[in-house]
């Protein structure tokens, strides 16, 4: 099924007539990461490989493959990394749940800090400190003309 025969390497040009197909191609291309320019989808990218992969998507959709099958095709070759929404599994648990977990932790710390806040009152001075205050204030008075 997936064997690309050497003879069938048709140059798939965007056919203006088939708007529905193009829409599906674009929708799928927006789900896939361009591995050459890693922060772009293959829909956005003009890299050679992205164009090739878009053509692959178009050919395969036209040949009747489903979106799911095409995603499987891509993952088998490039790994979960091609997916902008990788599946939840052991290796991606941290990726999926790390940020919400950090957010909860931050909120927890914030709430805790706010609840523990007490109005700040100055500690009463002890005898030595009182005496020092007196001398200092007294000294200031004496210097006044």
């Amino acid at each position: 099924m997936a064997s690309a025969l050497p003879g069938t390497a048709a140059t798939a040009l965007p056919a203006a007539a088939d708007v529905a197909l193009e829409k599906r191609v674009t929708a799928l291309a927006e789900e896939l990461r361009c591995l050459v320019c890693q922060n772009q989808t293959i829909a956005d990218s003009h890299a050679g490989l992205a164009v090739d992969l878009k053509n692959q998507i178009r050919e395969k959709l036209a040949a009747g493959m489903s979106e799911g099958e095409i995603i499987e095709f891509m993952v088998a070759r490039y790994g979960d990394f091609v997916l902008y929404r990788p599946p939840v599994k052991a290796t991606t648990v941290l990726l999926w749940f790390g940020p919400p977990l950090l957010l909860l932790l931050g909120l927890g710390l914030f709430v805790r800090t706010v609840l523990q806040r007490r109005p700040q009152t100055a500690a009463p001075l002890n005898a030595t400190e009182q005496a020092r205050v007196q001398t200092l204030l007294g000294a200031g008075d004496k210097e006044r003309p």
Partner: protein, 194 residues
């Protein structure tokens, strides 16, 4: 003045106020430091451990002759994806020439999305480390092998299973530390014809 000291728990807490941020900062710094050393282009390939995808392509030098990965069954071999337009391939080239001269392992080229004349001229000028090169004009075999950054290199065992993949330049260090030990190991495995 012991009387003025705040209660013990509070002192522990106030010390934590300094230790915690400092600790988190250090952990973060170490993680980011490790991150700097990683190559984001090196994406783990799902193909390692799987049978090399089947292909049949005309050869680069002899367009009327075909090459298939099946032709290499029973041998440990390297598939190296290259192109004359690929600057990094030129950097990698002398390493492959040296490896090829050592005769340890046959290297097959996959000339990827290239012009036939450019590819042959490139090899004529720089030397040809390849047993032969298959000519993937459309890049379709490249897609089946998950190629996204030429050069890419696969070590394939006697059963036709991909055992190692390198994305980017094969350096003398990689040959010495990764490829040669692996090839030695794979050569000791028996071939089970199936």
């Amino acid at each position: 003045m012991p009387a003025d000291e705040p209660p013990r728990t509070a002192s522990r807490w106030s010390r934590m106020r300094y230790v915690l941020p400092l600790g988190s900062f250090l952990v973060l710094a170490v993680l980011l430091g490790i991150g700097l050393g990683l190559d984001p282009r090196e994406v783990p390939s799902p193909l390692v451990g799987k049978t090399a995808p089947h292909f049949e392509l005309p050869q680069l030098h002899r367009a009327d002759e075909q090459f298939s990965e099946k032709d290499m069954r029973g041998k440990v071999w390297i598939l190296n994806v290259w192109a004359s337009w690929c600057v990094a391939c030129r950097e990698e080239h002398p390493v492959l020439v040296a490896l090829s001269k050592s005769g340890v392992i046959p290297i097959v080229g996959l000339n990827y999305k290239d012009q036939r004349e450019d590819g042959t001229a490139w090899l004529a000028r720089l030397g040809d480390p390849y047993l032969l090169s298959a000519y993937d004009e459309q890049g379709k075999v490249g897609i089946d092998y998950g190629v996204y950054g030429v050069p890419e290199t696969y070590v394939i065992d006697k059963q036709g299973v991909i055992r190692y993949k390198r994305i980017g330049i094969v350096t003398p260090g990689i040959v010495k530390e990764k490829i040669l030990p692996l090839v030695g190991e794979l050569n000791r495995e028996n071939y089970r014809a199936n």
